[in-house]
């Protein structure tokens, strides 16, 4: 039964697309027919797999860099309130920066290769994951910490075995958002900074040449990539936070 319900959304999307293009309610300049887009999508899947992998690599690597820096740091900052108060301005300032404003900086510091795109993605994901981790730590059950103390847990053990696990659900919320943002930023960086391979570059090239079915094909691939990454992280969440189902 639930599978049927899950089909309604995609089916509605397909029907809506067909309706709008068949009756020319939206000009083909903005929305090509579904059949044209599927043909373009097939070509992309068959001949442009390298773009998919290049974008995936940049987004995932940027995300993992952010995770490895933000989660331990977030746990420490959240656990020691004085550290948080001293860093509050820095955190709020940097997480408010609009990402495209960082492209010239990324170019200056990391050059024109993959490093600049990965760095921008990691930077943006870092602050999201950090803030979620800090909030997760703050929402740790004080009762469990007290019980831990009764049983002789020291600060490290309390942090490692109680606070961290209590914070995990919120950390995963940050990871989901961070991964989506990392993908978005890699796509935008590929459009702006340029690259030989990458879905963002291909979307931009199709757009400037008005190859609109190709552009939609690449956008669908990006959507599928985002969906896939989100599914992976959901499964990871179910595995690591199994008590929170």
């Amino acid at each position: 039964m639930s599978y049927w319900w899950k089909c309604i959304g995609p089916l509605g999307l397909v029907l809506g697309w067909t309706f709008f293009t068949k009756f020319k309610i939206i000009t083909p300049l903005y929305l090509p027919s579904l059949s044209e887009t599927i043909i373009a999508l097939k070509q992309i899947i068959l001949f442009h797999g390298a773009d998919f992998w290049a974008t995936s690599y940049r987004a995932v690597l940027g995300f993992f860099i952010a995770v490895f820096l933000a989660v331990p740091l977030g746990v420490i900052i959240g656990y020691y309130k004085k550290v948080y108060w001293s860093l509050e301005f820095v955190i709020d300032f940097f997480r408010s920066l609009p990402a495209p404003a960082l492209f010239p900086l990324a170019l200056l510091f990391f050059g024109i290769g993959d490093a600049s795109k990965i760095a921008v993605a990691a930077f943006i994901a870092f602050w999201i994951i950090l803030v979620n981790t800090i909030h997760g730590v703050w929402h740790t059950s004080q009762i469990r910490i007290s019980v831990g103390k009764v049983f002789g847990a020291n600060s490290y053990q309390s942090l490692r075995y109680i606070t961290f696990y209590d914070a995990l659900p919120e950390i995963f919320t940050g990871l989901r958002t961070g991964l989506s943002l990392a993908l978005v930023l890699v796509i935008v960086a590929e459009m702006s900074i340029g690259t030989k391979l990458g879905l963002g570059q291909k979307i931009f090239d199709s757009y400037t040449a008005y190859r609109i079915p190709d552009m939609y094909g690449y956008i669908l691939v990006v959507g599928l990539l985002g969906f896939l990454l989100n599914k992976i992280i959901r499964h990871a969440e179910k595995y690591f936070v199994h008590w929170n189902r």
């Binding site: 170019l107 290769g113 702006s192 008005y210």
Partner: protein, 326 residues
Amino acid sequence: MDMSKKIILGLTAVVLLTAAVFTFVKPSFNAPGGEPEKMVVKLGYNPLPHVAFVAKEMGYFDEAGLDVQLEKFSNTNLVMEALSRGDIDVAAAVSYSTLLAFENRSPGIFKLYEGWTENQDTGWSQLIVKKDSGITSPEQLVGKKVVMRSGLSSKAQGELVLSALGLDPKKIEFVQVDPPLLVLTFAKPEISAYLDIQPAATDIVEKGLGTTLIISPRAKYVINPFPVAAAALSVRFIEQHPREAQKFVQSIEKAIGYIEKNEQKTREIFQKYLGLDSAVAQNMPLPKYGNSKNINLDNVNRLADIEIKYKILDKKPIVSDWLYRY
């Protein structure tokens, strides 16, 4: 009612009032003396030096009874989409590559009233090398990185230039970036050369980052004269306001005449409207503008053939009906 509720209600009222003022109260800029209202013409442009700036600054539009409102877009595709939607009446400084691709997707939307070309000595496009790179001939670019603006057309033109110079384009890496990042990217140590257009070319030279190796490579090795960009009226605007369309184009033609005789003043106008650095505005080569009678459609067709060869266009658009006549 407690204090916080009062504050929230007060803030909500202020926000709603501000929104209402901006939505419903239209400011009136009419002259107090009861001067007749001018016809509003909306002109969208790509940030490149354009004749309309001169026509506006010199008051030619005012004399024609037109209130031309300029709207800047970040790239030529956005300008053409705005024209297609009816958000603007005129599209200025649009590359021919964009016009060709747009015509294929949405035929019969525009008519060209002005265009500019690049001759072999114009210097609108340039091949520039790093100042201390030791590169003195194009052959030394093999294995190096060359920066240019994003887009398939730029890449195809770059490949044609390199091929004409006897080089294998596959042995030279193109780094394509957004126009605002061109100079910054050129400054990176891993980049050896720049192959693109103004005003970034002059900016690089004026900043002492590079020296020009070849002037106007597109005209020398791709098409001579190279069709750079054009300006278009929307067919809808021409049909609805034929007299105003004619007056607009006559103002532009007057401005072209002014540009030919007043280079220094023209540079000052471009600097003002485009916010160019003064050294760039003073030293940048000016485009050679012409009205619709000067547009060479044969060369536009040749550009279309190149773009088909490079699979940028999937079919050849019909350009014979592109020109605006009055």
